[in-house]
Chain length 300, copies 2
């Protein structure tokens, strides 16, 4: 039987270790993933937002916020987001945008103290959490300040086992529904995405409806608003949303996939992200939920 | 003796509770802090960077990276950062800038594969951690994925009790020293600040030298670079640094203070941030280290 030298000995001897002994990088793990470990994202859950800053692709989460996602899709198909505006950019927090006001509605871009006074036409119920029943929860093997964190059906999430509930968490690129002070006043016409350290204190205080899977960069780089909470003072400072459509209504639009968070590949990928090599002289041995952004990819 | 009604009873009775029974907000806690709970920041540790994007004030941490901070101050006073460039902006990660190359040095703005080949004139030793002896460590009362986290002398930090060491952590606005692949090649002429979810996997893999305490916003809003790791392709895309000075060399520059992380006010503030009221229908009951940015303030 051939005696195997440990990796360290090979390196000391100046020999390149055989590839099988080298810890694969997270990119290599993804490249080798069987096709079955990737899950197709339903094009009817992909919202494609074109703004003056660029195109942003948002994956909606109907399993977690069915009423809000249905309302948002209806707004999209009614053209209500077309000619909307990015009304707020707060550093280390959120980019927020709003549909064009409908007949009889006030503009949505007012500062919160004014907006609190107004009544929405058709508020939706809060969808802050849902029963965990029927869902597979992949527990994050590392500590979390806020809850028992993990992944559900491709989404970063947290659970309360006793209450039997699960909810989507606020990480970079998470999309939530802006609301006024009463918890049920969001109607889906005003959305935001996170552009800073995951504000996990918002979990279960706001309805999360999805995440940006492409094109967040130019939007995260928009000038921060000068007013309280990062609202823009003047109309001229607001970035115009030219058009928002569902990918299923756009013939030829790219197909997207997300990594199955129940797959062996995801577990390997997560282990690799927690133990980075190369540049890293001391792998962390752990990773925060929001530093484990579930891999997605565009397919042809 | 007057009988006190519990807060809930007062609210049910429709009475406004007396102010003393209402949980103070974090702003109210800070407003009421005794002067002794604030610590003056040494103006000789404040680096003032003016770029075409705006002014950024950086607090250096000589107690954690004495060699690097000394080197950076020397570079500042030699004018080496004047006419420097912001060379890299990677979304959800870092903004990185570089001093003007000195005689015999290559430009610092090359992509990493080229930069790895070059030898720095005077590399500094890694200052990734230091002995905890003599420092008061305020343990964060919430879980952390990466380490035993907390605060030391006004800084977010983590410790290894067995090894007796402590280190500054990577949170939003943390400033670190760019390095090549070998861990000792940073010389302080290339710095970065975090503009995304805290990349805590960098902890103890890079020398942290401080944090941005003012003016990060316009820099975090710079266009992301188009090359690998967010490097800018063309010189024209790089933001020019006009001048960098130490506040102690700027007569009349504002004085700054940070909240004493060993004070009662800080403990109260932390509790308040973990249990937000007002908009929040379900206070988190906890907070992540990087969501607890140590309060600083400008004084006259």
């Amino acid at each position: 039987m051939k005696k195997l030298l440990p990796l360290a000995a090979l390196v000391l001897m100046g020999q390149a270790p055989p590839p099988s002994l080298v810890t694969p990088t997270s990119d290599e793990i993804l490249a080798k993933a069987p096709a079955a470990h990737w899950i197709a994202i339903n094009p009817d859950d992909l919202m494609v937002m074109d703004s003056a800053a660029g195109r942003m692709v948002i994956q909606l989460a109907p399993d977690f916020a069915p009423a809000h996602v249905a309302a948002i899709k209806a707004l999209v198909r009614a053209g209500r987001f077309d000619d909307g505006r990015i009304v707020r950019v707060q550093d280390n927090y959120v980019v927020q945008w709003a549909a064009k006001p409908g007949a009889g509605q006030e503009p949505v871009s007012q500062p919160p103290d004014v907006r609190e006074q107004r009544v929405r036409a058709s508020p939706l119920p809060a969808e802050y959490e849902r029963p965990i029943k029927g869902l597979s929860f992949k527990r994050l093997p590392f500590a979390d300040a806020y809850a028992k964190a993990g992944f559900v059906a491709g989404w970063p999430a947290a659970r309360d086992r006793k209450a039997g509930t699960v909810w989507l968490t606020h990480c970079y690129a998470t999309v939530g529904v802006g609301r006024d002070m009463p918890p049920d006043t969001g109607d889906g016409s005003e959305l935001y995405t996170v552009i800073g350290h995951g504000p996990r204190h918002l979990d279960r205080n706001i309805t999360n409806v999805g995440r940006v899977i492409a094109g967040i960069e130019p939007h995260a780089a928009l000038p921060r608003g000068t007013e309280a909470l990062g609202f823009y003072k003047d109309e001229a400072a607001r970035t115009r949303i030219t058009q928002v459509r569902m990918a299923s209504d756009m013939p030829g639009f790219a197909r997207w996939q997300m990594l199955d968070t129940d797959s062996r590949t995801f577990a390997d990928w997560m282990g690799s992200r927690a133990n980075r090599t190369g540049f890293f002289v001391r792998p962390a041995g752990a990773a925060d939920l929001c530093n484990l952004r579930v891999p997605v990819r565009e397919t042809r």
